[in-house]
């Protein structure tokens, strides 16, 4: 055991420091400080590999990284909830600043104005992009945000049934179940044409663009919900909301989204940030942190965590949610990204996604054996019915260095969900089309 001579770079205490401090404390050894641990339980074995110097650690992780086939290594067409977009260099540079990266939740506003004002900017950008009255400071991810939206509707209406459209991402539905069922909430499927809901339904929940990438015509369903005094909770995509009329414009009461497309690396699924917005009248039922503008004792503008009486550290079991640490830094990423893209840039990216994905779809549906089985308007993702199993097709594509779309044959016959964004070049799109065509023969 090397404990007494082991000087790790992350730990400043030297043996001499420890000796001096133990003397002040009045004990003879560090072990004495652990004397309350019951006999027989202290100092267990710990089967963890020996410490690795930084240089070796980096090599190890680079080698592990090399075992992955990442999304920028060639033509790549997966989406299904995580979307590749170009991330301007400014975003990472700002987010890597230690003053943002290594601060805690801004409980002391006097020394946290940076985090707080940035969060206020986040709430502004999210409100603008999703076209809703108010946004909170962010949730864990799009799926948990969506589930919390349903819970919020149940709280507002004091009703415990949730109707969902079956075109919502199955991953989102899984999270919805995890969050709602234990609280005795019943969830049941409906279609966009439903003109009736079960009695005591708190809300309808839907996604547009839906899991298949298509804009969901929700006006009628939302109207039906409202006529029965139920709310509409809609998950959307921030870029789809830039190009298409956002759900709030046709009556949604709570709108959530995955914030990842706004400048956040796909990073094998997280960390992302859930966007969460609602109509003004429901602000006091919001889950999560909210930052508000106020003044200090010298009447200077300043920002502070507010409406905290909703939250767990005050309300405990009666809180609107248990959420505490969320994803402030990822919220900052989306804020810097939105600022850098700005009013015109964000529309250009949305247009590029639309243009390129529609170009890809128009070519693919001309290939014999392939078709687009769904009607309607899609944004950047669409379903292709393949001449044979998508998993087989993906194997062949992979051998040509192309990562194809997601196999959704469990939902649509030989269905493949293909995503094209602004980062896919025409050359990549045409390589995919050529390969699909060769496979189809």
């Amino acid at each position: 055991m090397q404990s007494d001579s082991f000087q790790h770079p992350y730990i400043p205490n030297t043996p001499a420091d420890r000796e001096e401090m133990l003397k002040v404390i009045g004990v003879s050894s560090a072990e004495e400080l652990f004397r309350d641990i019951p006999q027989g339980y202290s100092a267990p074995s710990l089967d963890i590999p020996q410490a690795l110097p930084e240089m070796d650690l980096l090599r190890e992780l680079q080698a592990l990284g090399d075992e992955n086939r990442h999304a920028d290594q060639g033509p790549f067409f997966l989406g299904a909830g995580a979307y590749r977009h170009y991330i301007p260099a400014v975003v990472q540079a700002i987010v890597n600043r230690g003053e943002f990266l290594t601060a805690y939740t801004p409980y002391q506003p006097e020394v946290s104005q940076g985090t707080l004002q940035a969060a206020y900017e986040f709430q502004t950008m999210v409100g603008q992009i999703l076209d809703m009255d108010v946004a909170n400071a962010g949730m864990y991810d799009g799926a948990s945000s969506f589930a919390e939206g349903a819970l919020m509707a149940c709280r507002i209406k004091r009703r415990y049934k949730v109707a969902y459209l079956d075109t919502v991402s199955p991953d989102y539905i899984d999270v919805l179940k995890t969050y709602t069922l234990p609280q005795g909430i019943e969830i049941y499927p409906v279609t966009a044409n439903s003109t009736n809901l079960k009695r005591e339904t708190a809300c309808i929940v839907a996604q547009s663009p839906n899991f298949y990438g298509y804009i969901e015509p929700l006006e009628n369903l939302i109207e039906t919900a409202h006529s029965l005094d139920a709310l509409a909770v809609i998950a959307t995509d921030p870029f789809a909301s830039v190009l298409f009329r956002p759900p709030g414009s046709y009556g949604a009461d709570i709108v959530t989204a995955e914030g990842q497309p706004l400048g956040v690396p796909v990073s094998f699924g997280g960390p992302y940030v859930g966007l969460f917005t609602c109509k003004k009248e429901y602000v006091r039922q919001l889950p999560g942190r909210i930052v508000g503008k106020t003044v200090d004792s010298n009447i200077r503008t300043a920002y502070v965590l507010t409406l905290q009486t909703r939250e767990q550290h005050i309300r405990r079991e009666k809180a609107t949610s248990n959420i505490c640490t969320s994803t402030a830094l990822i919220g900052l990423m989306t804020t810097v990204y939105s600022a850098i893209l700005g009013k015109e840039g964000i529309k250009e990216v949305a247009q590029l996604c639309y243009q390129k994905s529609h170009y890809a779809a128009s070519l693919i549906q001309q290939i014999p054996g392939y078709s687009l089985p769904l009607d309607g308007v899609f944004f950047q993702e669409f379903v292709v019915e393949c001449p044979r199993s998508p998993s087989e097709i993906n194997e062949t594509l992979a051998s040509k260095g192309i990562i194809g779309g997601l196999d959704i044959s469990d939902r649509i016959h030989n269905g493949m969900l293909i995503c094209v964004t602004e980062v896919n070049t025409r050359v990549e799109i045409e390589a995919l089309v050529q390969a699909l065509s060769d496979i189809g023969k």
Partner: protein, 491 residues
């Protein structure tokens, strides 16, 4: 220079107010495909207002904002129960390796073996540190780990035909997330009082356990920074009554390699990687709250977990769903970018380093206690673990409250301790130094605390008006709540 607002002081104007029509922060490439027709204009959005600002403006604005923050990179941040330790820079570097950060979550498993291997190993390390059978990394924060934990307890009882077990016991010193998570899991909550030594009141516990008991949620060491000396008996009482023991891992920094919660009989524990395992807190996340469980809860783990299959000496990793999983907590596999940092941290420290962390965290806290207990009240006269809970009871007599002392510390260049928590200590100031701080820093902090104690006697009004040297002074929080102004609005 970022625009100053109309009052001409150092407030940084909001981006929407800095907008000048025509400015932009980046140029996107022109489309390289033939023009595609747009759908019916009725479907399209008409107006969207976002800032129009240049790239240098954006960089300077956010850089200046960042400089208004205290952070662990710039200041001692002794925020109790938050474990604000050094966040190693190499961890940010490895998380940004393209093979990791550009890896899409739906990538076929055979093309994501490197990432799955990292997750599998981290699961093993966390199971080892906690002394548990298995771990899921899916939960995206501590509170979500708590939710996962209580849902597993619920599923376990339901599967045993014990769905009437709906009572969750929680000590009165617990974090607010504990009762909030239990409520989200569909449980009724009762508080267990603490005794005069800061331990859980065992007698009260015995009276509360019954046939409706689902489990107990406790933090070890407790949120008072004290080791629960009756812990073996507590676990025994709960188990005998048919309940399960949930461990809140918020205070894990005290016991790495010193004690395994699994050995004590804990059934489930969540670990805050953004505390104990050094991942940056980011001003309020992202975090990660993996859950480690004893054998009987393994079938209920949240989705997904990573398994290893060795075939002809080649290991293959895949994502699986436990038999009776409580389900998904997020769309994908958890906060991978956080997980990989924690993995790198554990690899950097090794078993001996992890042990040393807890040893030094506990030495540092006891050193603060020893040198501050003459000037500040301490509710329980005993050694502490990794954090010390002081009380400003004595200073209150001069009209100086815990809040005032916390704010005055900001003027001395230290972040404030956690205030008014745990709720059961009057005027609580909870100080957690972590192993990252040197004796010199601790001595400087002690000097500041002693100076403030003297100020509280001699010039209490000065302490009450603090802080003076910060970018803003005390805020009107009542106004913020009364007239919520939550975003920029066009005037």
């Amino acid at each position: 220079m970022a625009a100053k607002n109309d009052k001409g002081n150092n407030e940084l104007s909001l981006l929407m107010d800095q907008t000048v029509v025509g400015r932009r922060g980046i140029i996107m490439p022109a489309s390289d495909v033939p023009v595609q027709p747009l759908p019916d204009p009725g479907l399209l959005r008409e107006n969207l207002d976002l800032p129009e600002v240049s790239q240098p403006q954006v960089v300077r604005y956010f850089t200046q904002l960042s400089q208004l923050n205290y952070s662990i990179d710039t200041h001692f941040y002794p925020l109790g129960s938050c474990t604000m330790k050094y966040n190693p820079k190499i961890n940010d570097v490895v998380a940004a390796i393209p093979g990791m950060s550009y890896l899409h979550p739906k990538t076929p498993e055979k093309f994501s073996q490197g990432a799955l291997k990292v997750m599998y190993r981290l699961q093993s390390y966390l199971s080892e540190v906690t002394g548990m059978s298995a771990t899921s990394l899916a939960s995206m924060a501590g509170a979500q780990g708590e939710l996962a934990g209580v849902l597993m307890i619920r599923a376990y009882h339901e599967r045993n035909g014990d769905s009437h077990r709906k009572l969750m016991l929680i000590p009165d010193s617990a974090h607010g997330t504990n009762p909030a998570s239990a409520a989200m899991g569909g449980f009724a909550v009762k508080a267990i009082p603490s005794d005069s030594n800061g331990n859980m009141d065992l007698g009260a516990l015995k009276e509360l356990v019954g046939s409706d008991l689902a489990g107990i949620m406790l933090t070890l060491p407790s949120t008072l920074g004290l080791f629960e000396t009756d812990i073996v008996e507590i676990c025994d009482v709960v188990h005998k009554a048919g309940g399960l023991v949930y461990g809140d891992g918020a205070n894990m920094n005290a016991i790495l390699g010193q004690l395994k919660l699994g050995d004590l009989g804990f059934d489930v524990v969540h670990i805050n990687l953004h505390k104990t395992f050094s991942t940056p807190h980011g001003g309020g996340g992202p975090g990660a709250g993996p859950v480690s469980v004893a054998e009987r809860l393994v079938p209920f783990l949240p989705l997904p977990t990573v398994v290893e299959k060795v075939d002809q000496d080649v290991a293959q990793y895949s994502l699986v769903k436990s038999d009776h999983s409580i389900g998904r907590l997020g769309a994908f596999h958890g906060n991978f970018g956080v997980l990989i940092r924690a993995y790198a941290y554990i690899r950097s420290l090794g078993a001996d380093g992890l042990r040393q962390i807890s040893r030094d965290a506990v030495i540092n806290a006891n050193y603060l206690l020893a040198r501050l207990k003459e000037s500040y009240d301490v509710s329980y006269d005993r050694l502490c673990m990794h954090e010390v809970v002081l009380s400003a009871r004595r200073q209150k007599k001069n009209g100086v409250r815990g809040l005032d002392i916390a704010k005055r510390l900001l003027d001395y260049g230290f972040h404030a301790p956690t205030m008014y928590f745990p709720l059961i200590v009057d005027e609580a100031l909870m100080v957690e130094p972590t192993e990252s701080e040197s004796k010199e820093t601790l001595d400087a902090f002690i000097d500041a605390m002693l100076a403030i104690a003297t100020e509280s006697e001699n010039i209490p009004e000065t302490v009450r008006g603090a802080p003076y040297s910060t970018p803003v002074s005390r805020l009107d929080e009542a106004k913020a709540a009364r007239e919520p102004d939550l975003r920029w609005q066009s005037r």
